[in-house]
């Protein structure tokens, strides 16, 4: 029972000790409770004093901010990259439209060409259709794999 009580009071002290270090007490009662611990248990006082020293040391150590010029470029780079990604989407959409239209016109011209044998027309269309289906199948597989890949966030 005593050991359990000691464990509880140590856990309570740990919390109060953090609050004391970070000035996060919620009430005066907590401050009094903490002071009581420090007064009664010398090991707790030693622990608190050592934490305080570490806290003071980290307080004196600052991360220095890069200069203002860097921040201006920083924001500009972000905005440029966002704009570029939108431009890429538009560009790729444009390419898809051109390719689809070009493909349609090419097949139309092939079908209307009377100088090419029917068997050759069928061969060309079958080759192109097969190639297209293969490409779509590979893209579909890649997308499915990517969606279910638990490591997709890891940059290689």
């Amino acid at each position: 029972m005593n050991a359990m009580q000691n464990k509880i009071s140590k856990e309570r002290f740990n919390i109060l000790c953090m609050k004391a270090l970070d000035n996060e007490f919620n009430s005066d009662n907590e401050i009094l409770e903490f002071q009581e611990y420090i007064k009664k248990i010398p090991e707790f006082k030693i622990e608190y004093e050592e934490f305080k020293r570490i806290k003071e040391l980290t307080k004196k150590m600052n991360l220095r901010s890069p200069n203002d010029d860097i921040w201006k470029v920083y924001r500009m780079k972000i905005m440029n990259r966002i704009e570029r990604s939108i431009a890429w989407i538009i560009f790729l959409a444009g390419c898809a439209i051109i390719l689809a239209f070009g493909g349609y016109k090419a097949i139309e011209a092939l079908l209307n060409n009377t100088r090419i044998d029917l068997i050759l027309k069928i061969g060309i269309i079958a080759t192109l259709s097969g190639g297209l289906f293969l490409l779509l199948s590979v893209i579909k597989e890649k997308i499915t794999l990517w969606k279910s890949d638990p490591y997709k966030g890891i940059e290689k």
């Binding site: 000790c17 050592e50 934490f51 806290k55 307080k59 600052n62 991360l63 901010s65 860097i70 290689k156």
Partner: protein, 199 residues
């Protein structure tokens, strides 16, 4: 209605007249200038968090920029009930951890990080000797970098970003009690490292 009008005109009222939710609503509607306000508001904190993780100035700048771009790409899915930095922080943290895993390096020596990036507040009378100060900085930096990710993260947020317990709890999506106990263990580990394990 007012917001729609603002978007159409591509006009952003002064920062003080817009709170974060209003700015984010504009961002969700695709307003890049509104997003620039968000970037300006959080870029330094983002850099310090990233630097705390990767200990590399250039990488911290790159990673925090990447995280802003990724956050913007998925801003349409953003839940306005949470704060932007909480959402952004998850992206940044993942990028930083991926970077460390990729580079297979967790720490950089103080000599590599350099005094340009970490400064010691100089009005300290208790350490009269300059070399003693540098040695202390080195020791502390080394000790922080020896902590595992979870403990280093909370020290960075508390000591170098000055966040309150409630802010840390929100950012890490953990109860305040967990913040305090995690901080306690982190400080205990630091103490152990700094005293050479003599505890």
């Amino acid at each position: 209605m007012i917001i729609t009008q603002v978007v159409k005109d591509e006009f952003i009222p002064s920062k003080s007249t817009l709170d974060e939710i209003e700015i984010l609503k504009l961002c969700i509607q695709g307003n890049k200038r509104a997003y620039d306000i968000i970037v300006k508001r959080y870029m330094k904190r983002a850099y310090f968090v990233a630097f705390g993780f990767v200990s590399d100035k250039d990488a911290a700048l790159d990673l925090s920029q990447d995280a802003f771009i990724r956050a913007y790409r998925s801003i349409k899915k953003f839940d306005l009930r949470i704060k932007f930095f909480t959402y952004y922080y998850q992206i940044l943290k993942n990028l930083c951890f991926n970077f460390l895993r990729d580079k297979k390096k967790h720490t950089r020596a103080f000599s590599e990080v350099g005094e340009e990036i970490i400064e010691m507040i100089s009005d300290d009378e208790s350490y009269s000797n300059k070399y003693e100060k540098i040695e202390l900085k080195e020791k502390l930096w080394k000790a922080i970098n020896e902590l595992d990710d979870i403990h280093r993260e909370i020290i960075i947020l508390k000591e170098f970003n000055g966040l309150s317990y409630s802010e840390i709890a929100e950012l890490l999506n953990i109860p305040i009690g967990t913040v305090m106990s995690r901080l306690y263990h982190s400080r205990m580990l630091l103490r152990k490292i700094l005293t050479g394990g003599k505890l």
